[in-house]
């Protein structure tokens, strides 16, 4: 039996936070910056997620896109797609939401320290990955060489454009991006799926960890490329999407075979994912 509990220890009880900044990223995506009313930090690790409450609408699991090196507030980048996220998109600065978390394991910082890193982001997979990219850039001397590949469907769907330009100029990372297709002539960059960027980069597979976040279809092709380049199964790290309703391993919604995405995940190595038939 568990010791005496009170209702205040509810697994469902969020802390309130204030929306302090909203920025449009594309037609369907915005980034929201929040600050807790109690003044405390979120205290997340890169790759963790929170449960966002809009009272009267519901709760949704959202990955944190800001790095913990950024203090005082945290950012969630969100596509308007369900009840909570669509409502979130209507909120202005000053609005209050509920936040529970952070939850999940996050990216394995201890493993990555001192290693070369290959970031691969597809579409809004950039949102969770950005928490780690920014972390690595802020603690640049802790890591080896950094390659970043970003792909999205069209130039209109590019996200965090200002930051993409910074990464492109930066001497601290090799940044390449591509779009699947081009509806106009303005785009002068690469065209083609993200795997077409792989021949343009080189890395030492022994020293490198690939961190891959994107839609299920992308994983299949990117993992094949990573393996072709000689990366070992446990050097390929991915973050998986599930509908975590509780975040604390009770509600059952995020089960991937016998694992709970909110507990053992959302970050998994390909070595783990390989044995999970339902992962991708």
């Amino acid at each position: 039996m568990v010791m005496q509990l009170t209702a205040k220890q509810s697994i469902h009880l969020p802390r309130t936070a204030e929306l302090i900044r909203v920025e449009k990223l594309s037609d369907r995506e915005k980034v929201f910056e929040f600050k807790f009313d109690d003044g405390k930090e979120l205290g997340q690790k890169p790759g963790q997620f929170v449960e966002v409450s809009i009272f009267g609408v519901g709760e949704a699991p959202i990955s944190v896109t800001s790095s913990p090196t950024h203090k005082g507030s945290f950012e969630l980048a969100v596509r308007a797609t369900g009840g909570v996220t669509n409502k979130l998109h209507t909120l202005d600065k000053g609005a209050k939401v509920g936040i529970r978390g952070p939850y999940g394991n996050g990216f394995p910082l201890d493993t990555l320290k001192g290693k070369d890193i290959l970031f691969v982001a597809g579409g809004i997979g950039l949102f969770p990955l950005r928490s780690l990219i920014n972390y690595v850039m802020d603690k640049r001397s802790d890591f080896g060489e950094v390659n970043t590949l970003f792909g999205c469907r069209s130039p209109q769907e590019r996200l965090f454009i200002g930051q993409l330009a910074e990464w492109d100029k930066s001497k601290d990372m090799c940044f390449l991006e591509t779009v699947d297709r081009v509806p106009d002539d303005e785009w002068k960059g690469n065209v083609g799926v993200i795997t077409t960027l792989f021949p343009k980069i080189s890395f030492d597979p022994k020293k490198t960890y690939a961190i891959v976040v994107g839609p299920p279809i992308m994983y299949r092709f990117v993992i094949a490329e990573c393996l072709k380049k000689g990366l070992a199964d446990d050097h390929i790290i991915m973050s998986l999407e599930r509908r975590m309703k509780c975040g604390v391993g009770k509600c059952g919604h995020c089960q991937i075979n016998g694992l709970y995405c909110c507990q053992e995940g959302p970050v998994f190595t390909y070595a783990q994912v390989k044995s999970l038939k339902e992962a991708v």
Binding site: M1, V2, M3, Q4, L5, T6, A7, K8, Q9, S10, I11, H12, L13, P14, T16, S53, F55, G56, V57, G58, E59, A60, R79, T81, G82, T85, K96, G98, P215, P216, E241, R242, R243, K245, C246, V248, G249, K250, C251, G252, H253, Q255, I256, N257, G258, K277, E278
Partner: protein, 344 residues
């Protein structure tokens, strides 16, 4: 702790006294409901049907209600949120050993690193008076799952010896409770009689597993690709009856509901289950178990492998409720495991 023997008449007085004095909380008991049985508030000991086979719903509903408010809030510029966890001391009479095993799994799931007050505020206060199942349901295979008898999880356990009941005392709480009743000390012949009655009941199970229960995880490891999951799930209605009546189904959904005033509302959780179509879907539209074959297989793995690996308890206690509730007659884990074994 000293076990006791109580006569039918004295047991009835004991129960009536519990109802009258509420000394152990509100008294819940197993009662007839039409030609079936269910747990409900007990008005008198005469309503108790300790000879039942299975209840429509397992007693988990008292700790994990079908719908439960977990938050109340006011909306507006500065929302106010309050966690809600109802508690009510209950004394539940007539819980079968396999349902007690189900509650032990619930304790493991709802405990852990982040224990759930909504569950434990009710569970910790409850007194469980079990009863051995002597007339098993035709679909039950509890004997094969080793859950027809339990040595833990009860305050008192009754065994019908014919004229009298044997009272196995499981806890101090149980000891103090039964001390108020007119009983006599159980001797060696009584204990022998209890064990004999239990052994005889074990022979009455009509469904059995054609393997040791410990072999189920390995069997499942070897049969992921089996065609049987598709064949057997073809007639599934995805109605979720099997998961709704299950004593080990722990999953829930969370929803918000605004009050008519629109000034505030409640967040509540309610039973949910992996056999329902949208259970594994995400906002983008992707459903990770889109086909009924996947959902059917997941349930069989969850019951026979995933839960035991995670919590040390098998996710199926063999009560037979799912098999009784399933219109397509495909829900029994024992049948599926046996067919998988045969096909191997």
């Amino acid at each position: 702790m000293q076990n006791r023997v109580i006569s039918r008449k004295d047991l009835a007085s004991f129960v009536d006294d519990l109802i009258k004095t509420k000394s152990a909380g509100e008294v819940i008991g197993i009662k007839a409901q039409g030609n079936k049985f269910n747990f409900g508030p007990l008005a008198s000991a005469a309503e108790l049907r300790l000879d039942y086979d299975i209840s429509l719903l397992p007693p988990k509903k008292y700790f994990f209600p079908q719908t439960e408010t977990v938050l109340k809030y006011e909306v507006g510029k500065t929302p106010k949120v309050e966690a809600v966890a109802a508690e009510k001391p209950l004394c539940i009479i007539g819980v079968h050993p396999f349902d007690i095993r189900g509650l032990l799994l619930f304790d493991a799931v709802y405990g852990g690193k982040e224990p759930d007050p909504n569950y434990f505020l009710k569970r910790n206060k409850a007194i469980i008076i079990g009863v051995d199942c002597l007339s098993p349901n035709p679909k039950s295979f509890a004997a094969s799952m080793g859950t027809n008898i339990t040595e833990e999880g009860f305050d008192l356990m009754l065994t019908d010896l014919g004229g009298d009941y044997f009272v196995t005392v499981g806890t101090n709480k149980g000891h103090n409770l039964i001390n108020k009743a007119k009983t006599r000390e159980a001797g060696a012949p009584d204990l022998e009689k209890r064990d004999k009655v239990r052994k005889e009941a074990e022979k009455k199970y009509q469904v059995s597993l054609k393997m040791k229960k410990e072999e189920i995880p390995a069997l499942l490891d070897a049969t992921w690709e089996s065609k049987l999951f598709k064949d057997r799930s073809e007639t599934c209605f995805s109605c979720g009856s099997c998961v709704m009546v299950c004593p080990t189904c722990v999953c829930f959904d969370v929803q918000d509901e605004m009050a008519l005033s629109l000034k505030g509302g409640e967040r509540y959780r309610r039973w949910d289950g992996c056999m329902l179509t949208e259970f594994a879907s995400v906002a983008s539209g992707e459903n990770f178990r889109e086909h009924k074959e996947q959902r059917f297989r997941h349930r069989m793995y969850r019951k026979g492998k995933y839960l035991v690996e995670r919590y040390k308890y098998l996710g199926c206690v063999g009560c037979g409720r799912c098999a009784s509730a399933c219109l397509a007659e495909i829900a029994s884990p024992a049948e599926t495991y046996n067919l998988l074994k045969e096909a191997k």
